[in-house]
């Protein structure tokens, strides 16, 4: 059963990555050509998923849109991990000091804001666009990783092998990098998967309100927003990108759950 979760998640995620990757090499039709006479066609042999209100092939739009979602979510997770994990490790290594206080309280401060609202604020100030969406989502990933790595690292500092390393004269930075980080990597991978799926949702949300990737770059959120008034006329135009978002986020969450079950030492020990 647990294996099934992992497999389902992994398959859905792989499909998502494969589709996004393939869009670099091939799409059924170009996505920047407007062909009005062929608009709002239902799925057929030439256009497998039909066409949208500009006569663009929905499958091609989905493929390129997957790339947009993927790029935004990955970079946002990398930003979050790249800045958040070192901050968390520094805080844990200097636990109780003023540095720890500053880092932890700043985390609390950022956590106190609803993330999507602040993301909207950031993009509204700096202008809409994929880059600003990445920054906005990335900023909110920082405290998530900082908190997680601090919490996971703190108990490790009391363990014998860390004591031994300290007695051997290793600096705090080296211990954090060589001993702490490998021991919390499992947790970070699981959290990364979850944040990745949240990033995809956030990108879709920002695009839905018009603050994500700008046209003509396809984006799942904007495909949804643009098709909602046509839902009575051509339901597939809204349902298809909606399903794509649901399946991708579901897949990533299942993968995250499955990975946690396999990787988290605490869960593993309770089961055996």
């Amino acid at each position: 059963m647990k294996q099934l979760t992992l497999i389902c998640g992994a398959v859905l995620t792989l499909v998502f990555f494969a589709v996004a990757g393939m869009s670099f090499l091939w799409t059924p039709e170009p996505v920047d050509i407007v062909n009005i006479p062929a608009r709002l066609q239902t799925p057929n042999l030439t256009n497998w998923l039909g066409t949208d209100h500009f006569g663009r092939d929905i499958l091609s739009m989905l493929m390129v849109g997957a790339r947009t979602s993927l790029a935004v979510a990955i970079v946002a997770v990398v930003i979050g991990m790249g800045l958040g994990v070192p901050l968390g490790l520094i805080a844990a290594a200097n636990s109780g000091s003023w540095l720890d206080e500053v880092i932890s309280r700043t985390n609390d401060l950022i956590f106190a804001f609803p993330s999507l609202v602040i993301a909207i604020l950031i993009t509204a100030i700096s202008g809409p666009g994929a880059i600003n969406a990445i920054i906005a989502i990335g900023i909110f990933n920082i405290p998530v990783f900082a908190r997680l790595s601090r919490a996971a690292a703190l108990p490790l500092w009391k363990r014998e092998f860390i004591m031994a390393a300290r007695v051997a004269g290793k600096s705090k930075a080296r211990i954090s990098g060589e001993h702490i980080l490998p021991n919390i990597a499992n947790l970070l991978i699981v959290q990364g998967t979850i944040q990745f799926s949240l990033g995809i949702l956030a990108e879709a949300g920002l695009s839905y309100v018009g603050l994500g990737a700008q046209p003509p770059i396809p984006s799942w959120g904007r495909m949804l927003a643009e098709s909602q008034t046509m839902i009575t006329l051509a339901p597939h135009v809204a349902i298809i990108p909606g399903c794509a978002i649901v399946l991708t986020v579901l897949g990533l969450n299942l993968l995250g759950d499955g990975l946690r079950d396999r990787l988290d030492p605490k869960l593993r020990s309770t089961r055996t």
Binding site: F54, Q214, P215, E226, T229, L233
Partner: protein, 489 residues
């Protein structure tokens, strides 16, 4: 059995009697007015609710755009054309009970044209030198120079007559002379009007009216479908109109507006300062694709900045016909064989957002790359309209007869042509209809041949109404929802 049948019949009778007695109406429009004083803001939504319903001017527009007497029952023009004498209707009262006389007319016009006036269309009153009260029902307007357009100008919503006592509070509680008096305004939802008992003219068939504001196209569709509103004027989702056409409960009225929808071009920003580049843009655009794709077929192609339903309209669509090859050739001649990149800033309406994506694809086909930015109205006014920081934008100019904006070099598309400015000055001073038509034809040709902007289409307006509602304006010669002629069948 008989009893049952009788009571059934009776209930039928009551039902139909109750139906025939319906004298109120709920009309939805998309935008809510920011406040309720038509003499101090440009927002068209104010006129939509109040024009002719609550406020009246000396003259008014009919549903065809013709100018007819309103508060003034007639007027005379002096020999030299510089003095207009308006004869007012007698027995006109404001909704607060005070009488409307020549003093109120003088006050309203002087207030609108004053130095510190906040009127959005002060140019309408520019030629007025003096307003004199002859007697309580006669007003004399003296002009500083000839203006054959005066009765037309005075029909605008910006020229309605207000009372000195209520002029400052009209923004929240408007007091006019119209057949409907303002009742309540629930901000964010609706405005209610009731029939004014002491109205001077013919009483309307309706006794009460509610304006609802529904900006979201999806919500607009649901509210209209569920018959929460009796009519939706300016239905915002053209893609759904076919559904209403197929439904016998509704009637769909397709009309025209004064909205020339144009690809506004920043004439001072390189490379658009080169007429060859502007011509290339014009030939790169396939109007029909935009009308079909963005408006689902609602709209009439235009080739210049003039409404096609106007008798003086000239068709210049052929001089900017869709011809991508010619467009590429012109770009090459202008030194942009490899194309260039510019900005395309789009305000919220779907004609702009959808039209923008289609135009971007069409321009890309001839080598012009556009960076699309979607803006809210406030940002658009700030960046594009006032800041002139844009290459291209799409907007519908909904003011009637507004070709005069091309004579303003500081206007946001920054078209500076002294010849055109002289032409407009001459037009203002001309009263002879034949000569005016001739000048207007030249004006239309000048801006069409200068390719000042990309002329796309005349914005259509769709009204979806209950099948039993009659008398709504099909067209929008000025932004208004005139309820005076509306009734239930």
């Amino acid at each position: 059995m008989t009893l049952i049948r009788n009571s059934f019949l009776a209930s039928c009778l009551f039902a139909s009697a109750a139906f025939a007695q319906q004298t109120d109406v709920t009309v939805a429009i998309q935008l809510e007015p920011p406040h309720l004083d038509p003499t101090s803001a440009a927002a068209g939504a104010i006129d939509s609710v109040l024009y002719t319903n609550v406020f009246e001017g000396l003259t008014k527009f009919t549903k065809t755009g013709a100018v007819v007497p309103a508060l003034a029952k007639s007027w005379d023009v002096s020999e030299d054309g510089l003095t207009y004498t308006f004869h007012l209707n007698e027995g006109v009262t404001f909704h607060d009970g005070s009488a409307m006389d020549a003093e109120d007319v003088k006050f309203s016009l002087d207030r609108a044209r004053a130095e510190d006036s906040t009127n959005a269309q002060k140019a309408l009153f520019a030629q007025i030198a003096e307003v004199t009260v002859v007697d309580p029902v006669t007003v004399e307007i003296t002009l500083s120079e000839l203006n054959g357009n005066l009765p037309f100008n005075l029909a605008w919503g910006d020229a309605v007559i207000v009372a000195p006592e209520s002029a400052d509070t009209n923004t929240q509680t408007p007091v006019g002379t119209g057949p409907f008096a303002f009742d309540t305004w629930v901000q964010g939802d609706r405005i209610e009007l009731v029939q004014f008992d002491a109205y001077w003219g013919e009483k309307p068939a309706l006794t009460a009216a509610t304006f609802k504001f529904i900006s979201d196209p999806t919500a607009a569709f649901s509210a209209t479908m569920a018959q929460d509103v009796d009519a939706f004027v300016g239905f915002p989702a053209p893609e759904n109109i076919a559904i209403f056409e197929a439904d016998p409960r509704f009637q769909v009225i397709n009309g025209s507006t004064e909205g020339e929808t144009i690809l506004s071009t920043n004439n001072k920003m390189p490379p658009f300062d080169n007429v060859k580049v502007r011509e290339a843009v014009a030939h790169a655009i396939d109007r029909q694709a935009i009308i079909d794709g963005a408006m689902f077929g609602q709209g009439t192609p235009i080739g210049t900045h003039f409404a096609p339903h106007n008798p003086d309209y000239m068709d210049f669509t052929a001089s900017s016909a869709y011809d991508p090859e010619l467009s590429k050739k012109l770009l090459a001649e202008a030194g942009f064989a490899d194309g260039f990149t510019t900005t395309l800033k789009l305000p919220p309406p779907s004609y702009a957002r959808r039209g923008g994506e289609i135009i971007a694809a069409q321009l890309r086909a001839v080598g012009i790359e556009t960076e699309i930015t979607n803006l809210e109205w406030a940002q658009w006014l700030e960046e594009v309209f006032r800041g002139k920081d844009y290459g291209l934008t799409i907007v519908s100019h909904t003011e009637p007869f507004d070709i005069g904006i091309y004579a303003r070099p500081d206007y946001y598309f920054q078209y500076d042509n002294p010849e055109f400015q002289d032409l407009m000055a001459e037009l203002t001073a001309t009263t002879d209809p034949a000569k005016r038509s001739e000048l207007l034809a030249t004006a239309q040709e000048t801006i069409a041949k200068d390719y000042v902007n990309g002329y796309l289409f005349q914005l259509g307006v769709a009204t979806i109404a209950d099948a039993n509602l009659q008398g709504l304006w099909p067209d929008q010669p000025t932004q208004a929802v005139d309820l005076t002629g509306v009734s239930w069948k």
